[in-house]
């Protein structure tokens, strides 16, 4: 055994040396997308790919692993080899909710985060011919007629659901009846058809039928470039900020130089003006956040969401 030690040491040194000397990436990088090809996440990643090819010597190989609202693909990323050659897109708050509520075999701590690329805020929308012109008017009406107004959400256990829980906590008198829809298309149709009176929808989705909708407020810290005339909820005195974020991540435990390299490349992409222009054209509200800021945001959201789920009695003790 003793005789082996120097051999091992040499091997280790050699390994480290090659690791340092050969610049990552030296082979194509697998990009796991947890949703179907052609979906919103895919479109965003495809735009990134264009600029990744500009800044990195190796291409991406797209691997689609859709299913169970992203759980299947996210698990794939969490369990991938920690060599930096498999990375993927994650959505927040999806990964937090799936960890708490859906027996997912990963937690927000299973990943090494690269950065955030999209912040798609929720907004409150009604039909163009609706009598409501402000969110306050809705809250007042709901307080006088509890449960009469129907709000359409994509869900359950989604960003919309979280925002709705937050609404219930902060505006306890304004009681709405919530109806869950499978996706944004169904939800938009329900609002247009009058099945629900308002929806909580994302910018990216309400823009599809924007001719027919009136967006009352955006649940963001600042106004959105896609709807510059729409005030934030905070501007109107309702303290709700809620959104869906797209981030990129690798399985936890990458070598520091590899993850830092990834972070550096992504940062350069996100600062490229052509990239930002392409994102805007595709209706993707981009917002860059570096890994540290993103991690603290996710931790903060985890605590908030845990509190909301406990309050609703949804979080079962394990």
């Amino acid at each position: 055994m003793r005789r082996l030690t120097p051999v091992l040491a040499i091997l280790c040194a050699l390994f480290l040396w090659t690791g340092v000397a050969s610049a990552y990436p030296e082979k194509p990088v697998n990009m796991v997308i947890a949703f179907t090809a052609g979906g919103s996440s895919d479109v965003q990643a495809r735009i990134m790919q264009k600029y990744w090819n500009k800044y990195a010597p190796q291409p991406w190989v797209f691997i689609y692993k859709p299913g169970a609202g992203g759980i299947i693909g996210f698990t794939e990323i969490a369990n991938a080899r920690k060599d930096g050659y498999t990375i993927g897109g994650l959505n927040v708050p999806h990964i937090i909710l799936q960890h708490f509520m859906q027996n997912a075999r990963f937690s927000p701590d299973s990943f090494d985060y690269i950065c955030q690329v999209v912040n798609d805020p929720q907004c409150i929308a009604v039909r163009k011919d609706s009598s409501f012109t402000t969110t306050h008017a809705i809250a007042d009406f709901a307080a006088k007629n509890p449960g009469k107004l129907k709000v359409g959400l994509v869900g359950p256990l989604s960003g919309h659901h979280i925002m709705y829980m937050d609404w219930q906590r902060k505006l306890p008198d304004a009681k709405l009846t919530h109806v869950f829809y499978k996706g944004a298309a169904d939800q938009n149709a329900a609002l247009l058809g009058g099945e629900v009176d308002l929806i909580i929808g994302n910018i990216n989705d309400v823009m599809r039928s924007i001719d027919e909708f009136r967006v009352l407020n955006v649940a963001a810290e600042k106004r959105n470039e896609f709807l510059p005339d729409v005030p934030t909820l905070r501007e109107d005195g309702i303290d709700i900020v809620s959104d869906i974020r797209r981030v990129f991540a690798a399985p936890k435990g990458l070598k520091p130089e590899v993850i830092e390299k990834l972070r550096a490349i992504f940062k350069r992409i996100c600062e490229d003006p052509d990239y930002l222009a392409d994102m805007k054209k595709a209706g993707q509200p981009s917002e860059y956040l570096d890994a540290a800021a993103l991690k603290s945001y996710i931790d903060e959201q985890s605590a908030l969401i845990k509190g909301l789920l406990e309050r609703e009695g949804l979080l079962k003790k394990k």
Partner: protein
């Protein structure tokens, strides 16, 4: 609108666009015909390619792929009883019997002409009535869609009037299977049988590949024939079919196309429901319903014209409101938005040239489909002149890789295998795989919309009942559903009357292409007992996993489990009771040895894909199964050489098609 017509028509005679239409159609038909590659996938795969084109050409090509794929699904439905896309389930009901009678060409031509007709009708509605129809489609909310799905489900009763008990049970089993995975109303995982991967649920397409393709392989191998079916094409059949459709099927075609357009407009329902409802209606209103299911041209025409009419329908809300009427329309919407085109009623003015070019191109595509489809379907009919074992082996390989390709999920390969066995067993004990598939397709929609009804009822005075029965559409659908449930009685009566008439006029010749009205023989008592046992086993397997479910997500599976258990018990008792009496019953010879061999090989193959990788295990599988199934006349040496050549050629073909052309990754293991 008028100012856009001429530039739009000029766009259509642009050689590039004509080439794109032809390529799109050809590619679409092939993708559609291959079980596992669906229309959605075909269109989604080509979206990135459109970014290199201008938006109009890109959209024209996507539209051509869409039309081609929906039609293409009929070819495999007719030739090997495997719907190429979920929209063609109903095509198998009459298309496959036609093939078995050696009249595959009649079925293929019928599907081609009906598809083109349906596509054109759908496009006419899109062109003329888009705005008003889109508004109407929005009236369909949760309750309306719930009743519509139930109406679709009531097809089971019409499909199997003399075997209704087992039909209903099969449908219930399908519905129960669809509850596996994350439940749509609370988001919690259920019925995962302790397998993490099952959290994604049983996907519809792999399940159907199993129920139809894989089980069909077992069935065909079990028949111990040399070829799938005799194929006796007759010259002039294309014209005969055309004449028959024009003279006898006007009403069926028109009705089915209108149903297709209507269902296509609804955001929740697509081609799979439209074709089934149209088939159902064609049979219901027919004077001789007993001809259906035995190779009736009207049946194929109804199903195929409806699913192509869905295309025009699904584009109506997509273009005018930004709400896709089908999964494919959703992908096209994504492509449209990526090109910076904003959907909305304004699209006909703001992007008028694009909108009208696209709509007119759909007319052109449907007309071009006739010659393109004619050539392709004659090529595909060659399949019938290949040796059965060869076809069977190839179907298994395609079924596995096709199922895998949808979600890149190894689980889906096991879904194919398990549902293949279930489908085969079900067929042997006269449970109905068509009804089962219907349940799997409609289950999620029924449960989701039922959940919406419960949600909505909290805001209504009259509670759930008010929500479910409010408004004209709901009442109409409920009445239609009730009438539909009474139909089996009408059909049985019509059958009896026709049989009497037939006996009276036995001597007069019939010129319509009908088949003999087979006298219905009671099933073997063992089949009943086995069917009952299967039902009880399934009810038990699900029943043990109720823990922790609540609300709609518990009620729905509980009701289904109870129905299945009760039905299972009934058939066990009925079977045992029948045993006492000595009844005449149907007999079927099955080459059990071959069935066992191909099942075992399929099992080992699925394991091999996980550990060895796709191509290496495919070659191994083909060689081994060829040796196992070889005829005694040829020696081992000769067979293995042949098998190796076949394996190599086939793997190469898959490698070119899947890995290179379609960019679909194949599973890798230790090897390749």
């Amino acid at each position: 609108m008028t100012e856009f017509i001429i530039p739009s028509l000029l766009n259509l005679i642009d050689p590039l666009n004509i080439v794109l239409m032809l390529l799109g159609l050809t590619g679409g038909i092939i993708i559609g015909a291959l079980p596992g590659l669906s229309a959605t996938m075909g269109v989604a795969l080509m979206v990135p390619a459109t970014f290199a084109l201008d938006p109009i050409s890109g959209l024209i090509m996507l539209g051509a792929i869409y039309a081609g794929a929906i039609y293409g699904g009929a070819n495999s439905a007719i030739l090997i009883c495997t719907p190429g896309t979920p929209s063609s389930v109903a095509t198998t009901f009459d298309g496959w019997p036609l093939t078995q009678q050696g009249r595959a060409d009649v079925g293929l031509y019928t599907s081609l002409l009906s598809s083109a007709f349906g596509g054109i009708v759908g496009t006419i509605f899109l062109l003329c009535l888009a705005a008003s129809l889109a508004r109407f489609a929005l009236q369909f909310g949760g309750p309306e869609n719930f009743w519509l799905c139930l109406f679709g489900l009531s097809t089971i009763a019409v499909m199997t009037p003399d075997n209704m008990g087992k039909g209903i049970l099969s449908g219930a089993i399908g519905l129960l299977i669809s509850t596996i995975g994350l439940d749509p109303n609370t988001g919690s995982a259920r019925f995962t049988f302790g397998t993490y991967a099952l959290i994604q649920g049983v996907a519809v397409i792999p399940c159907m590949i199993g129920l139809f393709s894989f089980s069909q392989v077992l069935y065909l191998i079990g028949t111990d024939k040399t070829y799938i079916a005799e194929y006796r094409p007759q010259k002039g059949n294309f014209l005969n079919v055309f004449k028959y459709l024009v003279s006898k099927c006007k009403v069926v075609l028109l009705r089915s196309s209108i149903i297709g357009t209507g269902v296509g407009m609804l955001p929740g329902a697509g081609g799979e429901i439209a074709s089934i409802i149209s088939y159902n209606e064609a049979k219901r209103w027919s004077d001789e319903p007993s001809r259906y299911g035995k190779g009736c041209i009207e049946g194929v025409a109804a199903s195929e014209s409806a699913n192509n009419a869905v295309i025009g329908g699904s584009l109506i809300p997509m273009l005018t409101l930004g709400i896709p009427g089908s999964a494919v329309a959703a992908v096209i919407l994504g492509a449209l938005m990526a090109h910076g085109v904003q959907p909305g009623f304004k699209i006909f003015s703001a992007s008028g040239e694009l909108a009208y070019s696209f709509i007119f191109s759909q007319f052109a595509v449907n007309l071009l489909m006739i010659p393109v489809g004619f050539v392709l379907c004659r090529c595909m009919a060659r399949l019938l002149s290949l040796r059965l074992t060869l076809v069977a082996i190839a179907i298994v390989v395609l079924a596995y890789i096709g199922a895998y390709a949808i979600n890149n999920s190894l689980l889906d390969i096991w879904v194919v295998f398990v549902f293949g066995l279930l489908g085969f067993a079900a067929g042997k004990v006269h449970l109905d795989t068509g009804a089962m598939a219907l349940g799997v397709i409609l289950g999620p929609m029924i449960e989701e919309n039922l959940g919406k009804c419960f949600d909505l009822s909290r805001a209504a005075h009259g509670g759930l009942l008010q929500v479910m029965f409010e408004g004209g559409i709901n009442k109409t659908l409920v009445v239609a559903l009730l009438l539909s449930l009474l139909t089996p009685i009408v059909i049985l009566r019509k059958n009896r009357r026709n049989r009497r008439q037939k006996e009276e006029t036995a001597s007069t010749a019939e010129n319509a292409p009908t088949t003999e009205l087979a006298e219905h023989l009671p099933h073997h008592w063992g089949a009943d007992v086995l069917a009952g046992v299967i039902c009880l086993a399934i009810a038990l397997a699900f029943g043990l996993q109720y823990e922790g479910l609540e609300g709609v997500s518990a009620i729905f599976p509980e009701v289904l489990c109870s129905i299945i258990a009760a039905g299972g018990l009934y058939f066990v008792v009925k079977g045992l009771f029948k045993r006492g009496k000595n009844l005449r019953h149907e007999k079927e010879e099955v080459a059990w040895k071959n069935v066992f061999l191909i099942t075992l090989a399929g099992f080992l193959y699925a394991i091999g894909i996980v550990f060895l990788g796709f191509y290496s295990s495919t070659i191994l599988y083909i060689v081994l199964i060829s040796l196992a199934l070889m005829s005694s006349k040829e020696g081992i040496g000769k067979t293995s050489v042949k098998a190796l050549i076949f394996a190599a050629v086939f793997s190469l073909a898959i490698w070119i098609c899947f890995t290179n052309l379609l960019n679909v990754p194949t599973p890798t293991g230790f090897l390749f």
